[in-house]
Amino acid sequence: MSLLDPSTVLRRRSDVRYRRIEGEAVVLRQSAAEVLVLNGVGADVLDLADGVRPVGEWVDALDGEYEVDRETLASDLLAFAAELEEAGVLERVEGER
């Protein structure tokens, strides 16, 4: 699997359902009946992975939401996105744009 870069576009896999609750996200992968709990940043990543916006634009959407500089936020978002791709929650949109 190649590394994510700012131009990568991600979306939630079709079997993924999630719900935000008190600042966290509960994620259900139905194909495996697997359940994950994500913190606030992870929940934001799920919201942002709409299959349209590239990862590099996510930081703009969250600017001011967290008390970190843009560089740190961008790095955290990429790391989270990579973890969620590895976990089978997100997938890449390739050749559809």
Binding site: R19, E22, V37
Partner: protein, 305 residues
């Protein structure tokens, strides 16, 4: 592998509707949460097996809320499965208006046309071999029926002091039966160490006994309520010390979702399931419980706020 290929020799010939040759003209009606549930088309031996298995829950007759029919199927339609070291999991194929599923010596479907109804095809003619097949179908049926009535079936152990109940959650091997046994040794009653129903209704959540038990359960008070207010939900973790810590609502919801068999694999009913379990996770405190055999588990459950 395609749907049902592990259990059926001809999965493409899976029945498309509730029809076939009935085993007989016997009927049983079972008083189980979400019901009563009626099963038609049984032979005399099958009826006897079901009545023995679900003794105390059989009605003399009458109407049921959920009707199911039982049909004969050739033994040759089913694969022989080597079950040594194997964990039995039904193969499910949900769709908007139906659920098809297959397992050992069974094909079944639930249809919403428009209300929930069931059908089972099996080659098991004799009561002793038939009732386990019917029970496996019944578990699925009850899970879907409870969900549409605003409740849920949860893979859990439920213990009660006769006034309130506690639900112990965790995957296979987490210690549900062990924990329930420790509580029983200290005076608790075990409703089931396998599947329990939670109903929400308009009031506080209540745990309702289901006749689906593992090694423990099925104990019934001589008199008193058939359901108990749910005091807390606990996610079990085995350990060498005893510790209880609160779970966030999200983590409690995650535990409940993972414990909702069958329906948590159905994309057509996930919103309903999430809604029910989110209400439950907000209404009842959730905890992570690390327990040991020596830790005074039952006393600490009763001490929870």
């Amino acid at each position: 592998m395609s749907f049902a290929g592990g259990f059926l020799r001809f999965p493409d010939l899976f029945p498309g509707r509730r029809s076939g040759e009935a085993w007989g003209d016997r009927r049983v009606v079972l008083d189980v949460p979400g019901g009563p549930y009626g099963f038609d088309g049984l032979s005399a031996s099958q009826e006897e097996g079901v009545r023995d298995r679900f003794a105390g829950l059989c009605r003399a007759g009458g109407e049921a809320v959920v009707e199911s029919r039982v049909f004969a199927a050739p033994a040759g339609d089913f694969r022989e499965v080597d079950t040594r070291g194997w964990e039995y999991t039904l193969d499910l194929d949900p769709s908007p208006a139906a659920l098809r599923f297959a397992g050992l010596r069974l094909m079944a479907r639930l249809d919403w046309t428009p209300s929930l109804s069931g059908a089972l095809w099996t080659p098991e003619a004799e009561g002793e071999a038939f009732w386990p097949v019917l029970e496996n179908v019944f578990r699925v049926l009850a899970a879907y029926r409870l969900l549409e009535t605003g409740g849920a079936v949860l893979h859990s152990a439920a213990v009660t002091d006769g006034e309130a109940a506690w639900l112990l959650l965790g995957p296979s091997g987490a210690g549900k039966t062990t924990a329930a046994g420790l509580c029983r040794d200290r005076g608790a009653m075990v409703l089931s160490d396998d599947l329990n129903a939670v109903v929400l209704g308009d009031g506080a959540p209540r745990v309702v006994r289901l006749p689906f038990t593992g090694d423990l359960g099925g104990e019934r008070p001589a008199e008193g309520p058939g359901s108990f207010p749910l005091r807390a939900v606990l996610r079990l973790v085995k350990g060498s010390e005893h510790r209880v810590r609160p779970l966030s609502s999200a983590r409690a919801l995650a535990g409940l979702l993972a414990a909702a068999p069958f329906v948590n694999r159905d994309p057509w009913r996930e919103e309903a399931l999430l809604e029910v379990l989110e209400r439950l996770s907000r209404a009842v405190p959730g905890y992570e419980l690390v327990f040991s055999r020596e830790g005074g588990l039952w006393d600490s459950l009763k001490d929870l706020p």
